[in-house]
């Protein structure tokens, strides 16, 4: 069943295009009343990064900084019948030297086969965003992020692994007297641009390439009746395979990632506290004699405080930490050709957000960072040149409709 729906790697864009055409064909037929027509929304944001050392989204350490993070998207949603909804979103994204592409972000058919006041269940088929933590499903939309860029749990390296699944999602939403419980489970094939993961794991750009296999991502959520308390547990189990080239010194290796993510948020008046903790168990095996089996466990977490000064201003602060191997937090056992600072990142941040209207948002942040684990290899090709202590000033302007 999933094979039918699966957008094969090279044709992901093409299939998305076909789905868009279907939309255009279906949309006019179902616009009965003027106010019942399809919903169209979009966003665009531009980031600016200036760092004391190391590169973030382009050459941020050059004297003028970089405008290397641009994100824009448009989406449509239409409900041709009471229980069927079609939705699609296309995004353009430029992220330093890592990414410059236009993609179908999601394209899905949503069939809510049970729609009671207290209990709703349904299936979504197509390309579906992965429910993982508080922010993964809308990770490219500035208005839904708690800061200019997401904390390290969501970092760029695992972006393509976690972004979306081509397959299906089962969802359940249950309203009870004590609050709302929700559950989503995605089964399907994950994204396929895995160079950053490959370098991070093999510590060099190997001749072959990584391929995703079928994966599971699920999330169980709770929200109390006022929405002030939110809790979630997310789990992902992703498998990858290393496809060697002919004469490769590496064998047909297997990788497995198990991610356990705990999320909590509490709002008290104008203050919101948010924390998330990720434990990621990795298994890398069958690569042959040059790459012995390794089973490191990574860990990352953050705590963020938001203070809404009024309807237009928000001040926020966050401590964010990431350890590539929780049994070697300082990189003591790293090989000599890899800087120890790539084992961790500890990021202290303060920021201010201004919403002059619903359409516009301007943010400014200052980060003091110890460690380089979250740096991308594409933006920092010389691994030995990275500096352990650095700081970043960043701005972002966002528009939505």
């Amino acid at each position: 069943m999933f094979d039918l729906l699966k957008f094969s790697k090279s044709t992901r864009l093409f299939e998305g295009f076909v789905v868009s055409l279907m939309f255009i064909a279906v949309a006019p037929a179902y616009s009965f009343e003027p106010l019942e027509k399809l919903q169209v929304h979009g966003f665009a944001s531009q980031g600016y990064f200036l760092s004391s050392e190391n590169n973030l989204y382009g050459e941020s350490s050059k004297s003028h900084g970089t405008l290397g993070l641009t994100e824009a998207g448009v989406n449509m949603s239409i409900r041709p019948t009471n229980s069927i909804r079609l939705a699609i979103q296309g995004i353009y994204r430029h992220a330093g030297a890592m990414d410059e592409s236009a993609q179908i972000d999601y394209a899905l058919l949503d069939w809510s086969f049970l729609n009671h006041e207290d209990l709703r269940m349904g299936l979504r088929l197509g390309r579906i965003k992965n429910p993982f933590g508080f922010y993964n499903e809308t990770r490219d939309v500035a208005f839904t992020r708690p800061s200019i860029t997401l904390p390290s749990i969501y970092y760029e390296r695992s972006r393509n692994m976690l972004l979306s699944a081509d397959g299906g999602q089962l969802y359940v939403d249950n309203t009870t007297p004590i609050g709302n419980f929700s559950f989503q489970l995605n089964v399907g094939e994950l994204g396929d641009e895995l160079e950053e993961i490959e370098i991070a794991i093999l510590s060099f750009d190997a001749p072959g390439h990584l391929e995703n296999k079928q994966s599971f991502i699920g999330k169980l959520g709770y929200e109390n009746t006022s929405g002030a308390t939110r809790l979630a547990f997310s789990y992902a189990d992703a498998d990858m395979e290393y496809k060697p080239t002919s004469g490769d010194f590496l064998d047909n290796g297997h990788l497995n990632f198990k991610l356990f993510l705990f999320s909590a948020q509490q709002t008290i008046g104008a203050i919101t506290l948010t924390g998330e903790y990720l434990r990621q168990e990795n298994i890398f095996e069958d690569f042959g004699p040059f790459y012995p089996k390794a089973t490191p466990t990574s860990e990352s977490y953050y705590i963020q405080g938001d203070y809404h000064l009024n309807d237009h201003f928000k001040a926020y602060t966050r401590y964010d930490a990431l350890f590539s191997n929780k049994d070697d937090r300082n990189g003591k056992y790293y090989p000599p050709n890899i800087p120890r600072s790539t084992a961790f990142t500890k990021d202290y941040m303060i920021g201010l957000q201004w919403n002059p209207s619903t359409q516009w948002m301007l943010q400014a942040e200052y980060h003091r960072i110890n460690g380089t684990a979250l740096l991308s290899f594409a933006d920092n090709p010389d691994r030995l040149a990275v500096k352990q202590h650095w700081s970043v000033f960043t701005l972002q302007l966002s528009y939505r409709f």
Binding site: E33, L35, E36, Q39, H41, F43, G73, N75, S77, R79, N82, R85, A87, I88, Q89, D105, Y106, L108, D110, S112, N115, E117, R120, R124, I128, K129, E137, T138, V141, F143, T144, Y171, D173, T175, N180, T225, S226, G227, T267, H308, D311, N355, S357, T358, R400
Partner: protein, 136 residues
């Protein structure tokens, strides 16, 4: 000193106009007369999508900055307007749901509720073909 403050307080009370309450309205064909605050919140966060008779709910709101929207959001739903916006953004940008239709004025709001089956919204006062809903 206390006396003066008392008079000042009285003066403020008398001088300020009685703030008009914001009321919840539905199209007159919607088969309900009251909602709990939680039910209203579930409708405005787009979670509940059908009325008890299974006709789809159409939600209308005013702009986030409209005083009536702020009042409705804080007093009736007991949610900050920015929280509502966050929920709607999560819906539309993840592909899992929709956002209410935003209108520019109270007149448009009453007109939409009175003409469209299954619609819900809020205003200071009603009109023809709309029903006032008590929020308990």
């Amino acid at each position: 000193m206390e006396r003066i403050s008392f008079f000042v307080l009285c003066f403020i009370c008398l001088a300020s106009p009685v703030s008009q309450g914001v009321e919840l309205f539905v199209n007159s064909r919607v088969p309900i007369t009251s909602l709990s605050a939680t039910e209203a919140r579930n409708i405005f966060t787009m979670r509940t999508q059908q009325w008890p008779d299974r006709q789809p709910i159409k939600v209308f709101v005013l702009n986030d900055d409209h005083p009536l929207h702020k009042q409705f959001s804080k007093e009736t739903l007991r949610v900050f307007p920015y929280k509502l916006r966050r929920i709607w953004d999560r819906n539309i940008y993840s592909g899992t749901g929709e956002a209410p239709t935003t209108l520019d004025s109270e007149e448009e709001m009453i007109k939409a509720i009175s003409t469209l089956a299954g619609s819900i919204g809020y205003a200071n006062k009603g009109g023809e073909n709309v029903r006032l809903i008590k929020v308990q």
